[in-house]
Symmetry: C2
Subunit: 259 residues, 2 copies
């Protein structure tokens, strides 16, 4: 998709998913699509996602490259109690700071353990550690917190906990101009609409027009997605797209509410 | 997870998913988990995945960084007929070579178009382009080919076509020592097994032991995954893990066939 031209306030983000279980195909990631949808609402543009192995050097490199380039970096995974949970130490290394036991994290975990009748053993207490100067992200599900250091927000990988942490965190982040989108589905192949579509894109440089072919249940067609910060411009571009589809003998259908 | 120590032949790979539609949350990627599973079978370790925007600079950077670091780089998306399909040009730019119309690609697409009664317009002919010196990857679904240049394999984003191209390509790639895995599920929290698990990991540096907590249907527990190139070592580590779970009052269950 062609990028929309510079808007007045663009806020970008990246996500680092830490997880050998995803790279080995054992688990399907669910956090990318959740975060993507939430960031659209918050006016933050997710521009890059990396899935990296549970290795310190891989995490440090991804975090350091991405925090330079984006307003926000989110991480998912590797903050549990076991030997393979190394995200806290890797992020501290990326920032060149020490890891400490965080008194407020200890307090929250003690309270949770007492309520649930859990023993707070040494392994669990690992989850009360955070890089020096980090700010905790509340975990309303299982108490062990995430944290923010600089522009990096470190969260759990378990989807229910990740989602709860995103909900805790997002209201406190500065967003930019919200992206809106509108989709038109048509019963024509991509190759049929491509020529005319390129012309519309040239006339609407401030609207990103994406074209996504589909084959399902024996039928094929194309979903055309208009995205940008100006709703009126998106609607104007969409009207030209609908007219193009009709002129080529197809039937355009709006598939979702404008968002 | 701790990395297994150096095996005799480690072959690594990365995947670049090109797609604004995934970063905006509109579409869930299906190609990562498919490729991950296929690469395990082929003895190739998927070590990094990046999802990048449909922008030339983002694609060029990802391809150039990853092809230096891995034996194979796979890309998914952006090779269709529309204005937002820029992967071919971006990959050519990454290699500093020109894009040309490829005679064999033209032949295959003409044949397919004739069979299906499709018109081969200018937009569709864009899909017959490839970087100079690229080798085509056959597309048995819709003819328009992918291609390999250097160690970079460029494939379609539509899952049915991506999968078909992976099947065409994989037999021709050199794999390394195959990773095997074995999973044991237990009804204990991660914090309970963590201490003992770390000890087992220390005794089996050649087996990566991953720990994945779950909460589902009101129950919680932990899946423990042993991975490595030596099946006997994996089974020995798994037996220690089962004994650990029993010693802590839990019940270990093998969840899948050893792979």
């Amino acid at each position: 998709m062609t990028s929309p031209s510079a808007a007045s306030a663009i806020v970008t983000a990246a996500l680092v998913i830490i997880g050998d279980e995803i790279l080995s195909g054992r688990t399907r990631d669910a956090n990318l699509s959740y975060l993507a949808e939430q960031l659209v609402e918050a006016g933050i543009r997710l521009e890059e996602v990396r899935v990296v192995t549970d290795r310190t050097d891989a995490i440090v490199r991804a975090v350091n490259e991405l925090r330079e380039r984006h307003d926000h970096v989110f991480t998912s995974g590797g903050i549990g109690p076991t030997h393979d949970d190394i995200t806290c130490d890797a992020v501290a290394e990326a920032f060149g700071v020490a890891v400490e036991r965080h008194p407020e994290a200890v307090r929250r975990m003690r309270e949770h353990a007492a309520r649930r009748g859990l023993e707070l053993n040494e392994a669990r207490m690992r989850m009360a550690r955070a890089p020096a100067s980090a700010v905790l992200i509340r975990n309303p599900v299982s108490a062990a917190p995430g944290f923010t250091i600089g522009n990096v927000h470190v969260m759990a990988g378990v989807p229910s906990v990740f989602q709860a942490m995103v909900q805790e965190l997002l209201p406190s982040l500065r967003g930019g101009d919200r992206m809106h989108s509108l989709s038109v589905v048509c019963d024509l192949g991509e190759g049929v609409v491509a020529g005319g579509l390129g012309g519309i894109q040239e006339r609407y440089p401030d609207v990103g027009i994406g074209s996504y072919p589909y084959y399902r249940a024996g039928a094929f067609g194309t979903t055309l997605v208009m995205r940008g910060t100006g709703r009126d411009r998106i609607e104007l571009a969409a009207e030209e797209v609908r007219a193009l589809v009709r002129s080529l003998g197809g039937t355009p259908t709006d598939v979702n509410e404008e968002t």
